[in-house]
Symmetry: C2
Subunit: 207 residues, 2 copies
DNA sequence: ACCTGAACACCGTTCAAGT
DNA sequence: ACCTGAACACCGTTCAAGT
């Protein structure tokens, strides 16, 4: 038994800040963002209800830190999901598919990232998430796969909004009552062909 | 002074249920959905904290009633916003524009309508909101303004998601940190030409 | 039938006090 | 420097009791 172990295990906590963030993610997954309680989190981590306030200004600040972690993970997921050997239009589709599947895997995290309460913390990471789309759009425009007379960042913003809208309507059950396929695969299958149909069956050169 | 007036004005309340819903909308606008308190609402309406429970099962049930009212108003707004004398593609654009501007006018209402907690109450109205889009899409497909080999309800769902995504990212400030135009007008101006460009400068017959 | 008054368990947050 | 214990004001909800 190392000398530091006893100290870390009971009484004082070694690294409470990290434990709180990790514990918050678990509790969030269990209870959902609405029933998440800071007191209960403190109880689970084995610390007094006042202890978190040495590390976070408020309950909201703690959730902001969780959201920041979420942005890092979303960014990693998108980098993995968007392959580099394919056409820029295909990359845009992969972006949307990865975006939705990340949210489906971590719905509580995604909800916290985009509930609008942590825009100061989220602004930077959100921009970093969005930036690659502009590149894909410009490459697609250069290759004449997308209309070239529209501003690339407006097109990118529009496509991001589409991915985001499909995602949040899927998460909150918006499609469920409509009797149409609500699986991530179903949502993504032909959906993107509507706007990015140039490489699909509607492609000008596909006939 | 009518005999009923005294009775309605003090002591007991005449129609508490309606007063609660109306008061909830005011309080919601003031405090936002997160800091909305049922106790404070009761206080404002001039009634004990237990009184609302004679009319609503819970705080959530009351907010569900507010959401239902929101759907009615959104539907009216969409019916007014989408003119009938124009092409179906133009109608789809007007749908998106009306959708966003309704949410910009009633952000707290929109948030409650789509937070996923009231899907039982919301399922019907949501379907009624969505249904007209399928008509527009089918008319556009018949007129060869949209690709005809995609299922109309999938295209409509996709366009709804786009309008919804633009709306929620606008509401929660998702575009603010990106240095691009975030006004409802700016979001709508050229945005829809990306997917519905057939009647715009990118239209096949426009050159 | 509709509402009050008082209570219950639970919040988030603060602060003096301990080590 | 980091945490505890106890307190504060405030929730949502329940229930006997009043009219």
């Amino acid at each position: 038994m190392e000398p530091g172990d006893r100290q870390r295990e009971h009484y004082h906590h070694g690294s409470l800040k990290e434990s709180l963030i990790a514990g918050a993610r678990e509790l969030l997954k269990e209870k959902g963002p609405d029933d998440f309680s800071l007191s209960e989190l403190a109880r689970r981590v084995g610390v007094s209800t006042a202890a978190p306030y040495r590390h976070f200004e408020s309950r909201e600040a703690l959730l902001g830190a969780v959201a920041a972690q979420g942005y890092e993970e979303l960014l990693r997921r998108l980098k993995k999901g968007v392959k580099s050997g394919v056409s820029p239009v295909e990359q845009l589709k992969l972006f949307g598919i990865s975006y939705l599947s990340f949210a489906a895997d971590h719905p509580e995290l995604f909800q916290i990232m985009f509930n609008g309460r942590y825009n100061e913390e989220a602004g930077g990471p959100r921009g970093a998430t969005f930036a690659p789309m502009i590149d894909y759009v410009e490459q697609a425009q250069a290759a004449r796969l997308l209309p070239a007379d529209l501003r690339s960042h407006e097109v990118a913003r529009f496509l991001w909004a589409t991915a985001h809208g499909l995602t949040v309507l899927h998460l909150n059950g918006g499609f469920a009552s409509l009797g149409i396929d609500d699986t991530p695969e179903g949502l993504n299958s032909s959906a993107w062909d509507v706007v990015l149909g140039e490489t699909g069956p509607n492609a000008p050169g596909a006939a």
